[in-house]
């Protein structure tokens, strides 16, 4: 009994830290609809800035509180700066482009933090009061954990008062419900958005400073906290603060109890919780269906077929690609092979994100399933390459069909997060089921047979990937594609004319899953091995970045995005030790210059740098 109580209290303390990060994220999303990927970086900056301030202050409680508040102010200022300099310029851009921009910020801040504070973990010496414990039923329990338990509700209450009792809070709540209406009533959106960002960033910074007594400021904090924070926000219901607190408590307590019952489960418990909650309550615990923001709906213009000039350019590029092995060296050839695989991976995600209207944060799941399907076929069945490659899309498509049935009922960020949950569960299975998948050591020795040398394998990959991408494109111009787009633009009207939107979305999901699976199967052969990292969040983000870079609402977008991102990545990796900052800066430049993506930029008349106009 005592043990249970101790675990419960420990879980509550963890929940408070989670809540602080998630609270800022949910407030920002509620008002601005920005999926702020850089929120974890602000948390990390909070820890580092907090360390710098607190290690210079005396070690008493008053100074600690002062230091934490100062840290909050500092990250608040940084957050506002990011909003004013960057995000403000792209609110009118298609949905999720802001995510791409904040991803660029993540990359830049990672290198900046390392450059300023160095690579070593920084620990804050704890004063006696931070090290002390109180006796609870004969067990020692840290005083600081009790303080944290109180901090969560305290912050929740403060923000609630702010929202309920001030004019600013009323405006924020109104904007969360309908921001166009608030704007129409004459409220300055710019100031409102900046102030909301300041609040969110401040909370993230305070959260970062508050973990210092329990651990260290280190360079892995940003990414380790961001997915958990998103999970809390989504489980609670987007934009709902109370929901976020409930979700944080639910996850924190389950995590703490899970450690006792099933220690290995810590890998995946938060994602299982999220998947269960979203399947039962598609809008989270306390969330409401989001009102559509009107600017977004207008941004989706029908996709025009490619112009003759574009087709000629594509044909020329293809000829060049076919001839490539005769021209370039082996390393460039291997990069080109990677690019063909990336093209199919991105094109398959584009089917979901563009015409399907379903952003997926877990697309690597299908890629990984294909890769593991191929590798296992080679290793346990000794399957020849054609058969092993055939199994990849079947394995991935089959699982996508089953998962998809649950996923397509949802929409927006909820849908995206459910795909992320599934991807994490698949990842955990690959990671944990060592007897079959080799665990994190992966499956090695999946090399192409002797008859498929680097050049032949490149051609195989080119045919399958570019062929696959062309088939996907064909499907989107077929009646299926038009019906899919109709379901996206208005599910109600689509249903009225006899279409079945969910079945169409499921078909698109399965199609995209199979295509990604094929890309994964090829990747297994190209690298000679498969590891759980192919299913990681980072790999899913790669796919998102490629699609968004190229432009969601064009057919050429994912292809151009895949080429640009893979090429850029390799070039920068070889050119500079600060490749993350350089890559982040390139992403920001592209986002600001071409808010419709690179390919989208060429389609907009009158944009600087556009080389042709659509007729």
């Amino acid at each position: 009994m005592t043990a249970l109580l101790i675990q419960l209290l420990t879980g509550l303390a963890g929940a408070s830290t989670l809540f602080l990060v998630a609270a800022g994220l949910t407030v920002i999303f509620g008002v601005t609809r920005v999926v702020n990927f850089s929120h974890g970086s602000l948390f990390m900056l909070g820890a580092y800035i907090g360390w710098t301030i607190l290690s210079r202050l005396p070690r008493d409680p008053g100074s600690f509180a002062l230091g934490v508040l100062l840290t909050g102010l500092a990250t608040s200022a940084i957050g506002s700066a990011v909003e004013m300099v960057l995000l403000r310029r792209i609110y009118k851009a298609p949905e999720l482009l802001q995510l791409l921009a904040t991803f660029g910020v993540v990359l830049i801040l990672q290198d900046a933090t390392q450059a300023i504070w160095g690579p070593a973990d920084l620990t804050l010496p704890r004063g006696p009061w931070l090290r002390s414990a109180v006796m609870i039923l004969g067990e020692r329990f840290p005083l600081y954990d009790l303080i944290l338990i109180a901090t969560g509700p305290l912050i929740l209450g403060t923000i609630w008062l702010l929202f309920a009792r001030t004019r600013w809070g009323t405006l924020v709540r109104a904007a969360t419900l309908d921001r166009e209406m608030v704007s129409a009533l004459g409220v300055d959106q710019r100031r409102l958005f900046t102030s909301v960002f300041a609040l969110g960033a401040g909370l993230a910074g305070i959260g970062g400073a508050l973990v210092l007594p329990q651990g260290s400021a280190n360079l892995q904090m940003d990414l380790s906290v961001i997915t958990d924070a998103f999970v809390v926000v989504v489980v609670g219901g987007l934009g709902s603060l109370t929901g976020a607190y409930l979700a944080a408590v639910l996850i924190g307590v389950l995590q703490a109890l899970g450690i006792v019952l099933l220690p290995k489960a810590t890998l995946v418990v938060v994602f299982v919780v999220m998947a269960c909650v979203l399947i039962v309550r598609p809008h989270g615990l306390l969330g409401r269906p989001l009102t559509a923001t009107r600017t977004d709906a207008a941004a989706i213009a029908p996709i025009r077929p490619a112009t003759p000039a574009l087709l000629w350019a594509a044909a020329a590029l293809l000829v060049l690609a076919i001839a490539a092995p005769l021209i370039v060296g082996p390393f460039v050839l291997s990069v080109l092979t990677d690019i063909t695989i990336a093209i199919l991976f991105a094109a398959s995600l584009h089917v979901l994100m563009g015409p399907g209207g379903m952003a997926s944060f877990g697309h690597a799941a299908w890629f990984g399933l294909g890769a593991y399907g191929t590798a296992l076929a080679v290793k346990s069945l000794a399957a020849p390459m054609p058969l092993a490659l055939l199994l990849a899309p079947i394995a991935a498509g089959g699982v996508a069909l089953v998962f998809g049935a649950l996923v397509v009922r949802l929409s927006g960020v909820y849908l995206a997060m459910l795909t992320l949950a599934f991807a994490q569960i698949v990842w955990a299975v690959a990671f944990q089921w060592s007897d079959v998948t080799g665990g994190d050591n992966g499956i090695l020795g999946v090399w192409p047979p002797a008859w498929a040398g680097p050049a032949s394998f490149y051609w195989i990959s080119l045919v399958l990937c570019v062929g696959g991408a062309i088939l996907l494109r064909r499907a989107l111009y077929a009646p299926f594609g038009f019906a899919l787009r109709a379901s996206r633009d208005s599910a109600l009207r689509a249903e009225a004319i006899g279409l079945n939107p969910n079945a169409l979305r499921l078909a698109a999901f399965t199609l995209a899953g199979s295509a990604a699976g094929l890309a994964g199967g090829l990747a297994a052969y190209a690298k000679g091995s498969v590891f759980p990292t192919t299913i990681s969040v980072g790999h899913s983000v790669d796919a998102l970045v490629m699609v968004l870079l190229g432009g969601v609402q064009t057919m050429a977008g994912p292809i151009i995005g895949a080429i640009a991102y893979t090429g850029l990545f390799d070039a920068l990796l070889l050119a500079t030790g600060f490749w993350r900052a350089a890559l982040g800066a390139c992403i920001l430049a592209i986002v600001l210059l071409f808010p419709q993506g690179i390919a989208g930029g060429f389609n907009r008349p009158g944009v600087a740098g556009s080389v042709k106009r659509t007729i």
Binding site: I6, Q7, T10, G11, A13, P119, A120, D121, T123, P125, R126, S132, A133, R140, F141, P142, Y144, Q214, G215, S216, N218, L219, Q220, S224, Q255, A256, I259, V260, P263, K264, T266, G329, P330, F331, V332, S334, V335, D338, F431, Q432, G439, D440, N441, G442, L444, G445, W447, K527, G528, S529, T533, G538, G567, D570, A571, L573, L574, G577, W579, R580
Partner: protein
Amino acid sequence: MQLSRRTLLAASATLASPLAAPSIVRAQGNAPIRIGEINSYTAAPAFTLPYRNGLQLAVEQINAGDGLLGRKIELLIRDDAGKPADAVRLAGELVTDQKVDVLAGGFLSNVGLALSDYALQNKKLFIAGEPLTDALVWDKGHRYGFRLRPSTYMQAAMLVEDAAKLPAKRWATVAPNYEYGTSTVKWFKQLLLAKRPDVVFVADQLPTLGKIDAGATVAALEQAKPDAILNVTFGPDLTNFVRQGNTRGLFEGRAVVSVLTGEPEYLDPLAEETPDGWYVTGYPNTSVTDPANTAFIAAYKAKFNELPKMGSVVGYALIASIAAGIAKTGSVETEAMASGFPGTTFATPFGKVTWRAQDHQSTLGTYVGRTALKNGKGAMVDWRYVDGADALPSDAMVKTLRPA
């Protein structure tokens, strides 16, 4: 995309054959010997940046002297960002484009295995520095793969010496949930039970790497009421674990055996919270007065103005091991090196080390001692150096473990 190729240099290097007349070796002239190194510089900077310093110091020292086979060494460094797929692609770049003579590097076990498999497929020598997985030299070991650091088996074997002498009967373990963690726990249990059949393991905690929920983990261990604890966590996880353990009194009246905790990169962040009397493996850098180590520290401090960490030693020894292997082989031709490296002895800050012929594991050892708090900082005391050769299983057992 950077497409720079140095085919001219490379052609002369790869065509060189050990069986050819010495005149051909001389004819290679001044073309540098190229070592391609891949590591997780952005994913694990706390370890890999001091490691890179060690590499650079060693290369600089060799080049300032007579060089290697009368040639300079050129080091090409790449960042795999912690991803095996990226590591394999970069290996391709280094081998096919930059025409490196030897591949080296690796931090995470899976990256090391991916690179090792690439080396086997492409018949190129790969010298792993840090990856600790036993698979690298045993079940996935092969002719072209070598590994420098003491493996998980060796680290566990070194600590079991002390653990077996403890009166503790009830043991609990805490390890990061991936190959390094699970493998260390597996060996520790096996080796300890062999010496002490009366021991029982009462709890196993497997926190996710980098995301330990320290409070709950400590409480769960406390609940199992063990007499002693094996800790395998490191880095930020270790700091969180130690802080919660100190406050909640987990370590009071209990023996703790802890892998890697004595290494400066992981001990320094513990600072004044360093627990007293843990049995650890590590590197008590300044207190080792062996001339090889003091000379290394002096040179390192002169160049980088800080004390070397364990990573620095690994990086430095890695270059030393490659240089010695090439010097003994007298060539940089892969097949010749694969035959020439085994049995080579080289000097490291920890003393003389040999590349074992039976499994391509080096005999580099590590220091085993106890933690203590000195002037508000963590330190290792009562330490002894354990030679890697003494922590390895019998040749007969190695034979069963290594199919290749």
